[in-house]
């Protein structure tokens, strides 16, 4: 655990009064409380720090000890022993002052200075564990079906079920999968943010999918059947004669699954892109000329 300067954590001076400490704590607690900052990984940590700072600085005895030893709490015991021996043999050792250990800066003291574990505090404050945040990248095809994935969060494997239809940027909260609570407090939560990659073929807007399908000139002119590849499989479609370039057709229920609504799907919009033939033979050119002469 990183140790903090409690005065700095609360944004107060070392001469702050009890009232000033209380006021500073309340102000920061309202700003940083994890319940008011869901998904903010820093807020939970900072909240824990200001809680710890408040617990020490609002207790005159603890504050005195903290002020006395500052960042060099580790030498506190040694210092006290030296102090005792100095009193016993004043003048012989030359002694040293608390300033020799420096003051201010960061303190690393809570557990060590006030005694870790049980009974260290008059009222054991329960802290909710820190929230974890994770990002999961999925292809559009992955997001199309409900599937399971195993994530490794802080060395632990978490198996999650990803419902079909999840959106880009959507965040799923897994309650209790964050850091363990402190002093019996509840575990934090795990927030998984989904990033859905763009697909080369399909474009997604909400639950609808858009695709551009190339159409042979002759099929566009004369009509016919084509086979279209969709996320739910191959589909046979009838193309009307004289279909214009850019014509859009809607296939109801062939789009993306609606999140957490089993059996419901958006629509698939197909835009036809009529392909003009290239590398025509002389004969074909002649035929086109003939056709052109008919003034269609």
């Amino acid at each position: 655990m990183d140790f903090i300067d409690y005065y700095q954590a609360l944004g107060i001076s070392k001469t702050a009064t009890e009232d000033e400490i209380k006021k500073a704590y309340r102000k920061l607690a309202r700003k940083l409380h994890p319940d008011l900052n869901p998904g903010d990984k820093d807020a939970g940590k900072k909240f824990q720090q200001i809680n710890e700072a408040n617990e020490v600085l609002s207790d005159p005895e603890k504050r005195k000890k903290y002020d006395q030893y500052g960042k060099d709490w580790q030498h506190a015991e040694q210092f006290e022993k030296a102090g005792q021996s100095r009193q016993q043999s004043r003048g012989q050792t030359g002694g040293f002052d608390a300033e020799d250990f420096g003051e201010g800066g960061f303190s690393s003291f809570f557990d060590s200075m006030f005694g870790g574990g049980e009974g260290r505090r008059s009222r054991q404050t329960k802290f909710r564990g820190q929230d974890y945040n994770s990002e999961l990248r999925l292809s559009l095809i992955d997001a199309y079906t409900t599937h399971k994935q195993t994530l490794t969060i802080n060395g632990k494997n978490v198996r999650i079920s990803i419902p079909a239809g999840i959106e880009n940027g959507q965040i799923i909260k897994l309650s209790g999968y964050g850091a363990p609570g402190i002093n019996g407090g509840p575990n934090g939560d795990l927030y998984i943010s989904f990033s859905i990659e763009n697909d080369a073929r399909y474009k997604r807007s909400g639950n609808d999918l858009y695709v551009t399908e190339e159409l042979e000139l002759y099929t566009a002119v004369l009509g016919g059947d084509i086979t279209v590849d969709t996320l739910s499989g191959l589909l046979k479609l009838k193309v009307n004669p004289e279909t214009q370039n850019g014509t859009k057709t809607r296939l109801k229920g062939k789009g993306f699954p609606v999140y957490k609504k089993e059996g419901q799907f958006g629509d698939l919009y197909i835009t036809y892109h009529v392909k003009i033939p290239t590398n025509l033979t002389e004969k074909q050119k002649e035929l086109f000329k003939e056709l052109s002469a008919t003034n269609i």
Binding site: A29, D35, N51, N168, G169, R204, S205
Partner: protein, 96 residues
């Protein structure tokens, strides 16, 4: 048939160091569901997470009931706005 796990309100109060009257007040404002069976009050297990959140807001931030209600409403609104931003961003992505 699905069965709902119920937790004694009294047990909840002891565990979270909160007055029974506070839980009753949460129930009266519609924030927490409490069911009474044979004169014993219970909270459905599905409500525990939320109830714990209200207790934390009450203890940690010294919020009264009105404060908690306001915070919850604002958090809901915030969530709605975040979802809307996400939807709009995805729409923009469509035209990129």
């Amino acid at each position: 048939m699905q069965t709902e796990q119920l937790i004694l309100v009294e047990t909840f109060c002891v565990c979270h160091n909160v007055e029974f009257s506070f839980m009753r007040a949460l129930h009266e404002t519609g924030l927490v569901e409490i069911t009474t069976k044979e004169n014993v009050a219970y909270i459905p297990e599905s409500n525990i997470k939320e109830a714990e959140q209200f207790v934390r807001l009450h203890h940690d931030l010294e919020l009264n009931l009105e404060g908690i209600e306001t915070v919850i409403q604002l958090l809901d609104k915030l969530k709605e706005k975040e979802d809307e931003i996400m939807r709009l961003k995805n729409k923009l992505r469509f035209y990129e």
